[in-house]
């Protein structure tokens, strides 16, 4: 028995145990990155939220141009920011598509409706002439009418708009002025007197929230193009949390079954493999956190499958180790030879799976991409831990001379 190697081995086990606890248990309260699994971004299917692909379509009046797409993007971004959700994603795909991802919105369908509203505001006189549009609007704010307590939207025009508004109201005293949103008359108040300060109100609204939504739309401006929903996926927060819990339980059950199987079948190497698997899991989770990989349901499946691959790598190596022991080699040279011979098979099998994973990542969209990336990272990490960690720890165990019975190594 060699004390230094025993100590080294004990050190590794203690170290891994500490990191594992830090990874999954909130040991120190109020530290945001402990447990560090909190750092892994959860996808919409796990957290609840909405994923929507919008496409700009040409209308007879308004063709889609690169410029109008830029404007539309900016407006969508404004509206998205107004929802106040953490880390929203707005990206342009190709020349006409906008992808929006919002996590944790309480009413995803409502959010989508507000995203695609054209929000074209017009003021028309009773003879149907458009006198003002949303372009001359300075700001819009929801509020409550001081007298009636009813929710309303307060509008304020830019100086040029205010000037026109003053002239128009002066010329139309006693007549109605129609306020239209997306071509629909919202309100048609009768002008009592000229309004020189460039301020107007629209009311009534069902609730302050409804007024708030309209105010956001008016503030962010009218969309220069017509946007249509090509694809929409929403997941309510309850279903998301449910899916997350279920995958964690399923994942744990699968892992525990593998750990028990490995010890039961491979004895000492099985124990070593289990230690390597725990390290593997930690490494993979840390890479996910570091690369900001978004975890989705297919991503969880990809992770668990790559874990099964890591197990396979260990199995290939241990079967080799047994063969080398049968051929009469000593434990240490059997470990060396076993690894050397197993490496070729391990490398080739990993590269082919990596090819499949990368192709999925490259060609896939949304969740499929997530599957491809978790599978690819898992494959690379499996190659590293099986070849570097398992080998190193196995040699360390052999070096301690704690175990003399080669049967425990599978002979």
């Amino acid at each position: 028995m060699k004390l230094d190697k025993v100590l080294k081995l004990a050190g590794i086990i203690v170290g891994v145990a500490i990191i594992t606890v830090l990874a999954i248990w909130p040991v120190i309260p109020n530290v945001k990155w402990i447990p560090f699994t909190n750092l892994i971004k959860q996808g919409l299917d796990l957290k609840g939220g909405v994923y929507v692909v919008l496409e700009a379509v040409d209308t007879p009046d308004i063709p889609v141009t690169a410029d109008s797409m830029k404007q539309a993007m900016a407006i969508i971004e404004n509206r998205v920011n107004a929802f106040g959700v953490a880390e929203p994603i707005v990206q342009l795909q190709g020349s006409r598509r906008i992808i929006v991802e919002l996590a944790g919105v309480s009413d995803p369908d409502e959010a989508v409706r507000n995203l695609i509203k054209t929000a074209y505001l017009e003021f028309k006189t009773s003879d149907g002439k458009t006198v003002l549009t949303g372009r001359q609007l300075k700001t819009a704010q929801e509020g409550k009418n001081p007298q009636t307590g009813q929710p309303e939207v307060n509008l304020e025009f830019e100086p040029d708009g205010a000037k026109i508004f003053a002239e128009v109201t002066a010329a139309n005293v006693g007549k109605p002025i129609m306020i239209l949103l997306d071509g629909q008359v919202v309100q048609a108040p009768t002008v009592r007197e000229a309004i020189p300060n460039g301020k107007a109100q629209i009311s009534p609204y069902e609730s302050l929230e409804a007024a708030h939504n309209v105010a956001i739309l008016l503030r962010s401006g009218a969309l220069p193009v017509k946007l249509e929903v090509m694809e929409k996926r929403t997941v309510g927060p309850t279903l998301g949390a449910d899916s997350l819990n279920k995958s964690i339980v399923a994942g744990l059950a699968g892992c525990i079954a593998i750990l028990i199987f490995m010890i039961g079948y491979y004895r000492v190497p099985g124990l070593v493999a289990n230690l390597a698997l725990v390290i593997y899991t930690l490494v993979v989770l840390m890479i996910y956190a570091a690369l900001h990989v978004t975890m989705t349901l297919p991503g969880v499946a990809g992770f668990l499958l790559s874990m099964a691959m890591a197990v396979d790598t260990n199995i290939i190596i241990f079967e080799r180790l047994k063969e080398e022991l049968w051929s009469g080699k000593t434990l240490r040279s059997a470990i060396d030879a076993g690894f050397k011979r197993a490496f070729v098979a391990v490398l080739d099998s990993h590269v082919t799976t990596l090819i499949a994973g990368m192709v999925l990542y490259y060609f896939g969209t949304g969740p499929i991409k997530g599957f491809g990336i978790t599978l690819s990272i898992g494959v690379l990490a499996s190659l590293f831990t099986a070849v570097a960690m398992t080998r190193w720890i196995l040699q360390l165990v052999a070096g301690t001379n704690l175990i003399h019975n080669l049967k425990l190594f599978g002979k």
Binding site: A250, A257, L297, A308
Partner: protein, 299 residues
């Protein structure tokens, strides 16, 4: 006594039996694919899906009567339990969607939308196109890699074994008309990856055994020996994958079920094809190459 020494039967000599089993499994699937095709989910065909949770026990008839009001007679209504329903309709616009949900909620005592999906027909076509593109690109890259590391004939045998597995999964999903969505594409590609991994571990052993073969050992015997040597590994690996998949199938959420089911079938098929198809096929390819001077030892 371990399998590697006892070698209960000769894999290569029995290869006609393995081919027959494969054909018998695949043929009904192919016929079904031609006759009824796949049950394409909205990811492919376009449409809308609502995952609903009613506040009170609700019957299919009640749900259907509300949908009928909107002219959605052809919709599929799937009941998970007395309050949970999956409703698939033609593509609904945002306004239609809102109205349907509101009406369901008003008439049937309140409803929560757990999940709502809408996919336009264009997106479905793009997905199918991308799926085939991914499959083709992955196949070509893998054949190139295997041909480089081993030999072209082995690459071809590996690809045939892998297509075998894809066909088995497609066939089963077609026969039982299980709905396929975009995650099915991911499942099929993973199956391909796994199938190849299994095949390559065996090929690797054949490559090694060929380098230091016993005097006068025929190719078929080398292959057979290699297969039995890797048998424990093949079985144990499939077991490890099955542990994970069965756990996911039993404990994972319903949203993952078809993905996991496809992976489960594919893993079993992959294990079979990598042992019983890939190497025997390669052996037959080799025999064609050396036609006239058979290497086969007479049994």
């Amino acid at each position: 006594m371990s399998l590697r020494e006892s070698m209960p039967f000769h894999f290569i000599k029995l290869r006609k039996i393995w081919y027959t089993i494969s054909v018998l499994i695949i043929l009904p699937g192919i016929i079904s694919l031609f006759l009824q095709g796949l049950n394409l989910g909205i990811d492919f065909s376009g449409g809308s899906l609502l995952d609903l949770k009613f506040n009170q026990p609700t019957s299919i008839e009640q749900v259907r009567s509300v949908l009928d009001e909107f002219g959605l007679e052809g919709s599929s209504i799937q009941r998970s339990n007395e309050t949970d329903y999956l409703v698939r309709t033609r593509e609904l616009t945002e306004d239609e969607n809102t109205n349907v949900v509101k009406e369901l909620s008003d008439k049937l005592g309140g409803v929560t939308v757990q999940r709502s999906e809408r996919v336009g027909p264009v997106m479905g076509k793009e997905l199918i196109y991308k799926a085939f593109q991914a499959l083709a690109v992955a196949s070509v890259l893998i054949v190139i890699y295997v041909a480089w590391r081993f030999e072209l004939k082995q690459g071809l045998a590996a690809i045939i074994a892998m297509l075998h597995d894809a066909l088995v999964v497609l066939g089963v999903f077609s026969i039982f008309q299980i709905e396929v969505g975009s995650d099915f594409v991911a499942a099929v590609l993973t199956i391909i990856g796994f199938s190849l991994m299994d095949t390559i571990v065996i090929f690797d052993r054949v490559r090694e055994n060929s380098l230091n073969k016993k005097k006068g050992e025929a190719l078929e015997d080398i292959i057979n020996r290699s297969m039995w040597q890797t048998m424990t590994r093949s079985i144990n690996t499939v077991l490890a994958v099955l542990f994970v998949l069965v756990a996911l199938l039993l404990l994972g959420g319903t949203t993952m079920r078809s993905l996991v089911l496809a992976l489960l079938i594919g893993t079993l098929s992959g294990a079979y094809s990598s042992i019983c198809n890939a190497s025997p096929l390669w052996f037959d390819f080799k025999r064609m190459e050396t036609k006239g001077k058979p290497k086969t030892a007479k049994a």
